[in-house]
C-alpha cells in the first residue's frame, strides 16, 4: 500500500506539490494523467528516491521511505521507464539481466549469477506470458528490439515481486503493435496480484482501457 501525506516539492520558485495527499491500496491500478510539467515524473522520482521531498511523508506498507536512499527502497519498488534502453544492461545476456534483477534482495554475492536451476525457473515464469523471450536467453539484451527490451524491463521489474510498480509512459516509445503487446502484458501481470501499480500515460485510449482509477495532476 502506498500512502503520501502532505507532500511538498518545489523546484526553485516553481511549486510542483503543495500539501499533496494520495493513497493507493494493495492490488490497485492507478492511472496518472497530467500535462507536461504537472509533476508526474517528479512524483515517481519522489516515490522511488531519485528525488527527496521538501516536506511530507511517503509510506510504503506503513514504512516511511521519504528519505531512504534509492538503492535501499528499491526492494519495494519496480520501475519501468519510457525509454526501453533504460531497463536492461545491453552488454549482458537476457538471462544475466534477469538473474541480476532476481538477485536484488539476495546477499551472497560471490555465487555464480546464472545456473541451470534458476534458468528453468525464469523460463517457467516467462512461458505463460507467450512472449518468445525464453528462446533468446543467451542473446545480448542490446540485440533485442525496443518492444522486446521493454518486455524484458517489465519482467525484470516484476521478478522480485515489488510492493509498488511504477510505469512511466512505458509504451510511449514503441510502435502500435509493440504497444499493444506491452499493454496486454501489463494487464496480465497486474491483475490478481497484491502489487499496487501506478501508470503514467498521455494516451486516452490507454486510460479508457485501464479506467479503474484515474488521478489527474496539475
Amino acid at each position: 500500500m502506498l500512502k503520501i501525506k502532505n507532500l511538498c516539492k518545489k523546484f526553485g520558485e516553481k511549486v510542483i506539490f503543495e500539501d499533496f495527499n494520495f493513497q493507493a491500496n494493495k492490488g490497485e491500478f492507478v492511472t496518472i494523467l497530467g500535462g507536461n510539467g504537472a509533476g508526474k515524473s517528479t512524483l515517481f522520482n519522489l516515490i522511488s528516491g531519485t528525488l527527496f521531498p521538501d516536506s511530507g511523508e511517503i509510506l510504503i506498507d506503513g514504512i516511511d521511505v521519504s528519505f531512504m536512499p534509492e538503492h535501499k527502497r528499491a526492494k519495494f519498488i519496480g520501475r519501468v521507464f519510457q525509454d526501453p534502453l533504460k531497463g536492461s544492461s545491453p552488454n549482458l545476456t537476457v538471462e544475466e539481466n534477469i538473474a541480476l534483477a532476481a538477485s536484488k534482495n539476495v546477499k551472497n554475492n560471490l555465487r555464480l549469477a546464472t545456473n541451470r536451476q534458476n534458468s528453468e525457473l525464469f523460463k517457467e515464469k516467462l512461458s505463460p506470458l507467450n512472449l518468445g523471450m525464453e528462446n533468446r536467453f543467451n542473446d545480448k539484451a542490446g540485440d533485442l528490439s525496443g518492444g522486446q527490451r521493454q518486455v524484458l524491463a517489465i519482467f525484470m521489474a516484476m521478478i522480485c515481486q515489488p510492493k509498488i510498480l511504477l510505469l512511466d509512459e512505458h509504451t510511449a516509445a514503441l510502435d502500435p503493435k509493440s504497444q499493444e503487446k506491452i499493454l496486454d502484458l501489463t494487464e496480465k501481470i497486474t491483475q490478481n496480484t497484491e502489487i499496487t501499480t501506478l501508470m503514467i500515460t498521455h494516451n486516452m485510449t490507454i486510460v479508457e482501457r485501464f479506467n479503474e482509477n484515474v488521478v489527474t495532476l496539475g
Partner: protein, 286 residues
C-alpha cells in the same frame, strides 16, 4: 627464437596491466588515470619488500593490495566527493609520485643480486604465462558472479542498476580497487623482470595497456567475457611483437610513445570511420 619468446613473455607480464585497465576502461566505462601511479606503486612496494628479504611471491601479493588502496582513493574521490572520473585518477596518480619516492626512499631501487620470481625459475615465459592464465581465469569467473555481473551492469547502465537497488558507488569503488590491484601486480612483476623499480616506470603505461586492449579487440570479436579477457592478453603479446618489429625496422625508440598513441587513436577511430564510409556510400546511392 629466444628473442621472440622473451618478447612474448614481456607481453604476458604487461597483459596483467592491460587486464586491469580493461576492468575500468571497458567494463566500468571509467577512464582511470590512477593506473600509471599504481603500476609504479606496485613496483616500488615489491622492490622495497624484496630488498628487505621478503619472499618475492608474497611481495607481489602485498603490492596488489597496496595498489588497490590507490583505487579506493580514486573511487572515493569520484563517487563520494563527485570529482570527475579523469580528475580523480589524475589527483591520485600525482599524489602517488611523491608517495612512491617516499616508499623507495629515493628515485629507484635496484634488485641486483636479490632473489625474484624470475631468478628462482629462470623462466620469464613460464612465470608470465602462469600468472596471466591464473588471473584471467579468476577474473572471468568473478565477472560471472552476482557481484561481477552487477559491476558490469553498473558500467553498462547505471540508472537501471540503481532502480534495481544496487549501491552503484560501492560497485565502482570495488571495480577500481580490483583494477588497480592488477596494475600493482603488473608493476611488481615488471620491476622484478627488469631488475629495478623506478619512479617513472609507470609513465606511458596506460597507453600501452589501451593499445593491447584495442589490438586484442580487433583480433577477436566474441562477446563471452572469458574470450574478451583472452583477447586482451593476446593483444598485449601482439603489441610487444609489433613494437619489436618496428624497432628492428629502424624506428627511433624515443618515437615509440608517439607510435603507440597513434595506434590507439587509429583503432578507436576505426569503427566510427567505417560507419561514416557506409553512411556516405548510402547517401551516394540515394
Amino acid at each position: 627464437m629466444s628473442i621472440y619468446i622473451s618478447t612474448c613473455s614481456q607481453g604476458l607480464i604487461w597483459a596483467i596491466l592491460a587486464l586491469g585497465i580493461f576492468i575500468t576502461f571497458r567494463v566500468l566505462n571509467f577512464a582511470d588515470m590512477t593506473a600509471e601511479g599504481s603500476l609504479t606503486l606496485g613496483g616500488a612496494v615489491c622492490a622495497v619488500l624484496i630488498s628487505n628479504g621478503i619472499n618475492p611471491i608474497l611481495s607481489i601479493v602485498i603490492s596488489g593490495f597496496a595498489a588497490s588502496i590507490a583505487g579506493l582513493i580514486t573511487g572515493v574521490l569520484h563517487t563520494k566527493f563527485k570529482i570527475q572520473a579523469i580528475l580523480s585518477g589524475v589527483l591520485t596518480m600525482i599524489a602517488l609520485y611523491s608517495i612512491n619516492i617516499r616508499i623507495m626512499g629515493k628515485a629507484n631501487v635496484s634488485l641486483l643480486g636479490k632473489r625474484t620470481v624470475f631468478s628462482t625459475s629462470n623462466q620469464n615465459f613460464a612465470v608470465g604465462l602462469t600468472v596471466c592464465a591464473l588471473l584471467t581465469i579468476v577474473l572471468s569467473l568473478f565477472f560471472k558472479t552476482r557481484l561481477g555481473l552487477a559491476i558490469r551492469a553498473t558500467g553498462d547502465n547505471e540508472q537501471m542498476m540503481k532502480a534495481h537497488g544496487a549501491n552503484t558507488d560501492f560497485k565502482k569503488i570495488l571495480a577500481l580497487m580490483l583494477s588497480n590491484a592488477f596494475c600493482g601486480i603488473a608493476g611488481a612483476l615488471i620491476g622484478q623482470s627488469q631488475g629495478y623499480a623506478d619512479v617513472n616506470m609507470g609513465t606511458g603505461s596506460l597507453v600501452i595497456a589501451l593499445a593491447s586492449i584495442v589490438i586484442g579487440e580487433a583480433m577477436f570479436t566474441k562477446d563471452a567475457i572469458l574470450l574478451k579477457l583472452i583477447a586482451v592478453v593476446f593483444g598485449s603479446i601482439a603489441y610487444r611483437l609489433i613494437v619489436f618489429f618496428v624497432l628492428n625496422f629502424g624506428m627511433n625508440p624515443s618515437d615509440l610513445k608517439l607510435f603507440t598513441a597513434v595506434v590507439v587513436a587509429a583503432f578507436l577511430a576505426l569503427p566510427n570511420i567505417r560507419k561514416r564510409i557506409v553512411r556516405s556510400a548510402k547517401n551516394v546511392k540515394n
